[in-house]
Amino acid sequence: MKKTMFLLLTLIFSMALLSGCSSTGGPQDEEGAGTEMGGGSGTNTSAAGGGGAWTGSPLEDPNSPLYEKVVYFDFDTAEIRPEYVDTLRAHAEYLVNTPSARLVIEGHCDERGSREYNIALGERRADSVKRFLEAEGVSPVQLETVSYGEERPVDLGHNEEAWAKNRRAELVYQ
């Protein structure tokens, strides 16, 4: 049941994101879209809760390793930690099997130190993920990188906990 709830929330969230992206109108517009999507996701939930197979994209399946799209890094390094190898291998396999898929790898840093140096460090993190995927057979044509340095933190805190969340590479499928 807990899982169902989680699934429901994820669905609503990702749909809300989708509707948010395409919306050009004001806040009322988005709210309206959100309500409609919420209704739609209810149907999916009962199906999944009853043990049915996932019918959407495997990238959105919480049970798939592809669901993980963030890789975290240690301070001042772009080395991929061993715990992310399986996740990245799953993405490599998906990309190899889905030649039409395009992935942008975003590199991010924590706020410490110089902003421009962090842009460079973020690029190194994105490149590190890109090289890993290429070594697993992904075509370079499918991959792009962009570094946001410390400019797009997910956690606005100023402590180790926040910094650890911000030192990351995000896999953004296009």
């Binding site: 130190g113 421009e116 140096y117 842009i119 570094s147 956690d155």
Partner: protein, 432 residues
């Protein structure tokens, strides 16, 4: 006529982007033995019902006080308010232990115009040191007041003043989900803040042209970084680079003809110089490591840059032709974002002390770094054009604020906005 309407339109545009968010300046540490000076409120000679929109004496006094080198006398303590030399009784000011005295008057000069005169006296010698007359308009009253403060500062300290200059900085409002960024410029005292670009995507690394009329900056509009150059007074702007990868850290050469930058289009970030007239790029530094943050020497012959080729970020110097690469910093494990002092004898940089990121100055002759600040996340140091102060970004009560410190570390002040995070400050050159 066409030209005139063009000017009018751009003026209107500038006015419409005026923002109310003034930077509030607070002196956090002053100098012992600051020079006592009395700035008498300037006397208004016109109709009492329509006084000038700015209090000139107050602006001058605030500038001098803010420099840390002057202690200004409270208006309430003044025994007299002279506005001409014949009205000055130096004994009044000696009794108040003032070394110097500034007086002035302001009178109407046609519609919207003003005539200003001011005099600076040595109280103990009982003589005038300097005196000037100005004609101006309401719009330029603050600028004239800063100019007078510069003249007083230069006469009494021997160093050119930098009050009639500006700062550029980035403000972040909004949240991670809905970011709102703006690039602003303000007078050196935080007044007249204007937004020159705003975006929902990151804006960073503003850099002034040597005549103070343009700003280069990095904008992530469309999700990817590009370097832009924008005319400050007209708002006209042009995209300079949008290569694959990093387009960052722009820096105008001292003659304004070249722009140094960091690009990673050829694999990893290296230092390039663009000839702006011909749009021709030349790679100056090529290395497998990170190279970024170029900064020109005042004579235009050398660049500083940050590189981690030695295992951690450190400051290096290279000739603009690409030769003579030399590592400059050996103290501390993290040194970045360096730039030269206007006299070229020292550099300011971010240096890590333990786990704290602070602003330092390194004497190029001895190679030793003096740490000037005591924050834990200080960044983006930038010299005032007279080399007396360094403006930088720091954190205060959980917010990004700007701060300035004198080059000798003795005077500190904080410039804060009521809301939003302020960062990436850069001090303008003198206007030409």
């Amino acid at each position: 006529m066409k030209k005139l309407s063009g000017i009018l339109i751009s003026l209107l545009l500038l006015l419409s982007t005026q923002v109310q968010a003034k930077l509030v300046i607070e002196i956090t540490e002053g100098v012992e033995g600051a020079l006592p000076i009395a700035v008498v409120p300037f006397k208004w000679m016109g109709d009492a019902a329509t006084p000038p929109p700015e209090d000139i004496g107050q602006i001058i006094a605030a500038d001098l006080k803010r420099s840390g080198y002057f202690k200004t006398l409270d208006e309430a303590q003044m025994l007299a308010r002279p506005s001409t030399m014949t009205e000055v009784d130096f004994r009044d000011w000696r009794a108040l232990r003032q070394d110097n005295l500034v007086i002035g008057r302001i009178e109407p000069n046609g519609p919207g115009g003003y005539k200003l005169r001011f005099q600076l006296f040595d109280v103990y010698q009982g003589e005038q040191l300097i005196g000037y007359n100005f004609s101006t308009t309401a719009k330029d009253l603050r600028a004239i007041a800063h100019h007078i403060a510069d003249l007083v500062y230069e006469t009494l300290t021997g160093t050119k003043g930098a009050f009639a200059t500006r700062i550029a900085y980035v403000v972040s409002e909004g949240s991670p989900k809905s970011p709102k960024l703006s690039l602003r410029i303000a007078d050196s005292d935080g007044y007249n803040a204007q937004t020159i670009v705003s975006s929902t995507e990151p804006l960073m690394s503003p850099a002034w042209s040597p005549d103070g009329r343009k700003l280069a900056y990095v904008s992530f509009e469309n999700g990817r970084p590009s370097i832009w150059i924008q005319e400050v007074f007209t708002g006209k702007r042009e995209k300079i680079t949008s290569f694959k990868g990093i387009n960052g850290a722009p820096a105008f050469s001292p003659d304004g003809h070249y722009l140094a930058m960091a690009l990673s289009k050829d694999g990893n970030p290296d230092i390039y110089i663009m000839d702006l007239a011909r749009r021709k790029l030349r790679r100056v530094v090529r290395h497998w490591a990170i190279e970024t943050e170029p900064s020109w020497s005042p004579d235009g012959r050398k660049l500083l840059f940050t590189s981690d080729r030695g295992g951690s970020p450190q400051i290096y110097q290279v000739s603009v032709t690409g030769g003579d690469v030399k590592r400059l910093t050996f103290e501390n494990r993290y040194n970045a974002r360096a730039s030269y002092a206007p006299d070229g004898k020292s550099i300011t940089l971010i240096t890590r002390v333990g786990s704290q990121y602070r602003i330092g100055v390194m004497d190029l002759r001895t190679g030793s770094i003096t740490v000037l600040t005591d924050g834990r996340l200080d960044e983006s140091p930038s010299f005032a054009p007279n080399g007396s102060m360094i403006i930088y970004a720091t954190r205060y009560k959980g917010k990004g604020v700007l701060a300035a410190v004198s080059t000798d570390g003795r005077v500190k002040q904080r410039l804060a906005l009521q809301s939003g995070d302020v960062r990436d400050p850069v001090w303008s050159p003198y206007y030409k």
